[in-house]
């Protein structure tokens, strides 16, 4: 007997994803960057999956589309919301899950699940994209690194032995001594000294010391950036770079701010354990670590690509639609 093939397709703002199931079992999965039009992305995903599975398109019995591009299907297909698809996709990987945090390209959602993978409640960002993958991309660019490098950079900050040393030293050195020392050193002496120091010496000295070797805050020190608008966050990153703060410290501050923004949604939908992450940002190790720190417990790891959970859920909806028929 021929297996029953169904396809789930998730067209996001930054990427297009697809999953092909044969009799409910994973047969192929596909991921690519989003094309200029949603219908072109859908076609590309269908072609990619059929090529991988060596199937003609006609062999697929049902399609289900999700994501912001789901309304532009060039063929007949079931349409489901991303929230329902991420919920079902995560639940099919682990039926014990009760919450999903989905961080996508332009939106982030907190979803509460029932015991059958249905949506009990959800909250998503409506007005501001500060807690999303696109914000991470913009901030990585402002930091002068690729978005893939942000996670390792932020983790590098955490594991730095220098942080431990700085924390320890700060504990031993009360602020009052610093204040007293400053009070003994009036600004006027600094100004006078500067007047005696001609420009040409500064230029020569600058030539001897490469930019960045005198960072004012090194790896290991904790800093914060605001989590308001992603463009204001971009400015904060630039200001920190201007102050010579180490990239690792800024990277950590970026992921902390983005996670803070995402978790602000949890005030509307309380999170219940076990919880998993979905969406492309879930692959960022720095974000996962920051979430773990802010939540106080680790998200449940899934044996499936978190970026494809929406497509997986869509494929299961397609399979359910066949059973109902």
């Amino acid at each position: 007997m021929k297996p029953s093939y169904v396809m789930g397709i998730d067209i996001g703002s930054l990427s297009a994803k697809g999953v092909l199931l044969a009799d409910g079992q994973l047969r192929a999965q596909f991921l690519r960057g989003a094309l200029f039009s949603a219908s072109a992305s859908i076609d590309a995903v269908v072609d990619g999956l059929c090529r991988q599975a060596k199937l003609p398109r006609q062999a697929v019995e049902a399609f289900c589309l999700t994501g912001y591009g789901r309304f532009q299907a060039p063929f007949e297909a079931l349409e489901k919301s991303e929230i329902a698809c991420h919920a079902l996709g995560a639940w099919t990987c682990d039926t014990a899950l009760r919450s999903v945090i989905d961080i996508g390209g332009q939106d982030s959602k907190v979803i509460a699940l029932d015991e059958r993978g249905g949506v009990l409640d959800f909250a998503m960002n409506e007005k501001c994209a500060a807690g999303t993958g696109r914000a991470l991309e913009l901030l990585a660019k402002a930091l002068g690194v690729e978005v893939e490098q942000l996670g390792p950079l932020a983790l590098g900050q955490r594991s730095s032995w220098r942080k431990l040393l700085v924390d320890w030293a700060l504990g031993l050195f009360p602020q009052v001594f610093v204040d007293r020392a400053l009070g003994l050193f009036p600004q006027v002496f600094v100004d006078r000294a500067l007047g005696l120091f001609p420009q040409v010496f500064v230029d020569r000295a600058l030539g001897l010391f490469p930019q960045g070797c005198w960072g004012s805050a090194g790896a290991g020190e904790r800093i914060r950036i605001s989590s308001r608008c992603s463009l204001y966050m971009e400015l904060d990153v630039l200001q920190l770079r201007r102050e010579g703060v180490a990239r690792e410290a800024i990277a950590e501050a970026i992921v902390e701010a983005v996670v803070e923004r995402v978790l602000s949604l949890a005030s509307r939908v309380p999170l219940q354990q076990p919880l998993c992450l979905s969406g492309g940002v879930a692959k960022n190790a720095g974000v996962v670590a920051a979430l773990e720190r802010q939540l106080g417990y680790a998200p449940t790891p899934l044996a499936f690509d978190p970026q494809l959970l929406g497509a997986l859920g869509a494929a299961h909806f397609a399979a359910r639609s066949l059973r109902h028929d």
Binding site: A129, C213, W214, R242
Partner: protein, 276 residues
């Protein structure tokens, strides 16, 4: 003695430099290319003033003055191996008051920058400053326009030309720059022309500026527009179409704060003549 004033914005770092009484020279660099402000200032100074031994006073415009520099900053300031000559802080409030003092008594100052848009008004005979600004969202700023031009594949330098070719400006509804990117792509997919979409972006930005001016209770008063957005004719025209009485540009709007800062430190009493 030469004075250098640095205005480090979100997209551009601007410098104004002059000896007292001389013509002010200005230059700018993209913020990503001038992360180290002092190094940028030093290089600019060396290029404009090659091989000359001259004392320099550096100033940087700051929103809030730190009460006292940190111990590290002070040690750095006197170290011969310092990375930069220390920059003195120049409070931007004083600079905006200086700008306003050079305008008509009743005029408002609209600073439309990359992220921040602010309206300044003089109160109590010019001794106090009232500020109305966009605090949470950057949708009306220049960076928003820049992101949209990037999404549309139009060079920022072609903004005026492209917008002038628009016949039916599109309507945008997304307040967030990131969401607006998707909306712009959707509009293009739906068959809108790039110039119409860009004109829609400009209209959206101008609407945000108008809302800000409304919050500042503009009334019939004239407005002096400064900041990066003030450089675009399409923005100025749209504001005028909406009934805003814009004062004539006295100098490149991008450089107004740092030139005014220089005038403040040199106590100049008239708008400076500048060379770009």
């Amino acid at each position: 003695m030469i004075d250098v004033v640095c205005d480090a914005g979100a997209r551009y770092v601007k410098l104004a430099l002059a000896r007292p009484g001389e013509t002010v020279r200005v230059l700018s660099a993209h913020a990503q290319d001038a992360v180290d402000l002092s190094l940028f200032a030093q290089r600019a100074l060396s290029a404009l003033n090659p091989g000359r031994l001259e004392a320099v006073r550096f100033y940087r415009l700051e929103e809030d003055l730190a009460e006292r520099p940190s111990l590290l900053a002070r040690v750095r300031a006197v170290s011969p191996l310092r990375r930069w000559a220390p920059m003195q802080q120049l409070e931007s409030k004083a600079v905006w008051l200086k700008c306003l003092s050079l305008l008509d008594q009743e005029a408002l100052l609209l600073d439309a920058g990359a992220l921040r848009c602010r309206v300044f008004e003089r109160l109590q005979g010019g001794t106090k400053l009232r500020v109305v600004e966009n605090e949470r969202c950057t949708a009306g700023g220049g960076r928003f326009v820049e992101l949209m031009t990037q999404t549309l594949g139009v060079g920022l330098e072609d903004l005026d030309l492209t917008v002038s070719a628009a016949t039916k400006p599109a309507l945008l509804s997304s307040p967030c720059p990131v969401f607006a990117e998707s909306e712009v792509v959707s509009l293009l997919n739906a068959g809108s022309q790039r110039e119409d979409v860009l004109a829609g972006v400009v209209n959206d930005v101008v609407d945000k500026l108008l809302a800000l001016l409304g919050r500042a209770q503009l009334g019939q008063r004239p407005v002096y527009l400064v900041g990066g957005l003030g450089r675009w004719q399409c923005i100025r025209s749209r504001l005028e179409q909406q009934g805003i009485r814009l004062l004539e540009e006295l100098l490149d709007p991008l450089f107004v704060p740092c030139v005014a800062g220089l005038m403040q430190v040199q106590q100049r009493r008239q708008w400076a003549r500048i060379e770009v």
